[in-house]
């Protein structure tokens, strides 16, 4: 592990040096996607310049080294999240794709009429709509764990929802809209007392926390590469072998098959039975480089630094009269959602953008939770390893300017 050196880290991300509207870019939309270090960009260029070939198919040299690099990524992530077996990690397009896989492949086998699926009120649409759809199809019932005024899951209410009809619990590790870190270990343990498996939507978790799936004992953990300094269009589903083996494939085609005739097809073994078609090989290789990058700095160091940024930003923004922080959970990841007086987040976002600062405005694809706060949306600043306190100062100045313009 290297020493945490913010100057060096900023050098690693070429996009950080660019300007927007003639101002140095401040990128605070990391919960939407993170920027990529040069090593990730180089890995993709190298792949296409030197190694490009389809994987798992050819006996020729390039196909073999591409396959090796691809499978290496799987093994490295297995080690990183401490999965028991490499075949418990399925490559997907991202978190949404991973959740859809479970909703379809697990849902088809295990969820029936009258059954229940539990999610929380904090969920991103991608951990809500697939279950809503499944429940509609199967005449099952979607139950929602409520949250308190700080944006924290009410654990006792969750316990009350668990019963013999519950077939799955699916909750976010970290809320993308509010930054709340959910007590996932407690949720998993409680659900297991009822023999109910648990899926953790780790889209906002992996880049900030060390994940140990065996210690957590989660049944599924889904994540995206692009929120983890890796390319877009790739992610993973970790699933316990026992579940994955009982689940049926939901996408069909090449690679996922064993024997094919016009009468009958038998399916390949794990993990391939869930990986139909040619995968996003360059992104997978980029994801391997991103993992190396994060390991070099140490996710604990990243988390500590981001937490420092979060408390600095929270403190500085709170000093501005009229600024209201939305989501005040005791444990928060580096997401700061706020409103400035009665100014519409969209108005605020337009001005902040023109000042060279990328923030997100709106409901952040988590409409229900913002509706429950009775607000049209928020301005959201989310921090990553390359952000600085100086950048936060610029956001503070921008917020003051917004106030001056609209009030």
């Amino acid at each position: 592990m290297q020493e945490f050196n913010i100057h060096k880290i900023r050098e690693d991300f070429p996009i950080i040096k660019r300007e927007v509207y003639n101002k140095p870019l401040v990128y605070f939309d990391n919960a939407a996607t993170t920027q990529k270090p040069q090593t990730v960009i180089d890995a993709i260029v190298r792949y296409y310049s030197e190694d490009n070939s389809n994987i798992h198919r050819g006996v020729h040299y390039l196909s073999q080294i591409s396959t090796l690099a691809f499978e290496d990524t799987r093994k490295n992530f297995q080690e990183y999240i401490n999965a028991k077996h490499h075949y418990e990690l399925i490559f997907t397009k991202g978190t949404t794709d991973a959740i859809n896989l479970v909703a379809n492949s697990y849902g088809k086998v295990f969820v029936n009429e009258g059954d229940e699926v539990i999610i929380s009120a904090l969920e991103h649409h991608s951990n809500l709509v697939p279950w809503q759809n499944l429940c509609e199809q199967k005449k099952a019932r979607l139950r929602i764990i409520p949250v308190n005024e700080n944006g924290e899951i009410i654990f006792d209410e969750f316990v009350n929802l668990l019963n013999e009809r519950t077939k799955l619990v699916s909750v976010a590790h970290v809320s993308n809209a509010l930054g709340t870190v959910n007590p996932i270990k407690k949720i998993i343990d409680k659900a297991h007392e009822f023999n109910v498996p648990v899926l953790i939507d780790g889209a906002q978790g992996l880049a900030h926390y060390k994940i140990d799936v065996q210690e957590l004992d989660c049944d599924f953990y889904a994540f995206s590469g692009h929120k983890f300094y890796a390319p877009m269009g790739v992610g993973m589903l970790y699933g316990k072998e026992e579940w994955l083996n009982k689940m049926v494939p939901y996408q069909f085609g090449g690679e996922m098959v064993d024997q094919v005739s016009f009468e009958k097809t038998s399916y390949n073994e794990l993990p391939f039975k869930f990986e139909a078609g040619t995968p996003n090989v360059d992104a997978v290789i980029g994801m391997n480089a991103a993992l190396e990058y994060v390991k070099d700095i140490g996710v604990e160091n990243i988390a500590a630094y981001e937490s420092e940024l979060l408390s600095y930003a929270t403190g500085e923004l709170s000093k501005i009269e009229g600024v209201r922080i939305i989501g005040t959970a005791r444990e928060k990841a580096s997401v700061l959602s706020f409103l400035i007086g009665d100014i519409h987040p969209y108005d605020a976002g337009m001005i902040i953008d023109r000042l060279g600062i990328a923030v997100r405005t709106g409901h952040h694809c988590a409409q229900p939770i913002l509706d429950s706060f009775n607000i049209p949306g928020t301005v959201r600043a989310s921090f990553a390893v390359y952000n600085t306190k100086e950048e936060i100062n610029r956001l503070v100045q921008a917020v003051i300017q917004v106030k001056n313009m609209f009030e």
Partner: protein
């Protein structure tokens, strides 16, 4: 008072915008425009009159009088309200035919499209489309009545 043509109002707006030195002036102008929008009657501020595709909520209503359209609108975001009013200023008191055949090139020329329309988010295009749909509906209705 004689009604200016769509093109005349467009040129007027382009001229006004040419005095602005920077984006800040443009936004301040839009914020001011937002304040003088022909306000939609509360009874029309309903779900049905909401324009889809905007990050902020925009309500739009139209009436036809003596063959000419009058729009009223509102939004919960001030800049959006300003943009809506800019469009209304160009279109009010025009005939459905004129609105349908207009291309509204001023949007490009004053840099609105470039700076303000990352499509989905501000819904400028959605507003324009909805206004043309109103014009089309009035035109069809009038023709059927003949």
């Amino acid at each position: 008072m004689e009604v200016k043509s769509i093109q005349e109002t467009e040129e007027e707006i382009i001229n006004e915008f040419s005095y602005f030195d920077d984006w800040m002036d443009k936004y301040n102008f839009l914020i001011e425009m937002g304040k003088s929008i022909p306000s939609i009657d509360t009874q029309y501020k309903v779900e049905n009159n909401l324009i889809k595709g905007c990050q902020s909520r925009v309500w739009l209503h139209a009436t036809l009088e003596d063959g000419r359209i009058n729009f009223t609108a509102d939004s919960d975001a001030v800049i959006t309200k300003g943009i809506a009013n800019l469009l209304i200023r160009v279109m009010n008191q025009q005939t459905p035919d004129d609105i349908l055949s207009a291309e509204f090139t001023f949007v490009d020329k004053i840099g609105l499209k470039e700076h303000l329309s990352p499509t989905r988010s501000n819904g400028l295009m959605a507003m324009l489309k909805q206004m043309k749909l109103y014009a089309l509906a009035f035109k069809t209705k009038t023709e059927q009545a003949k």
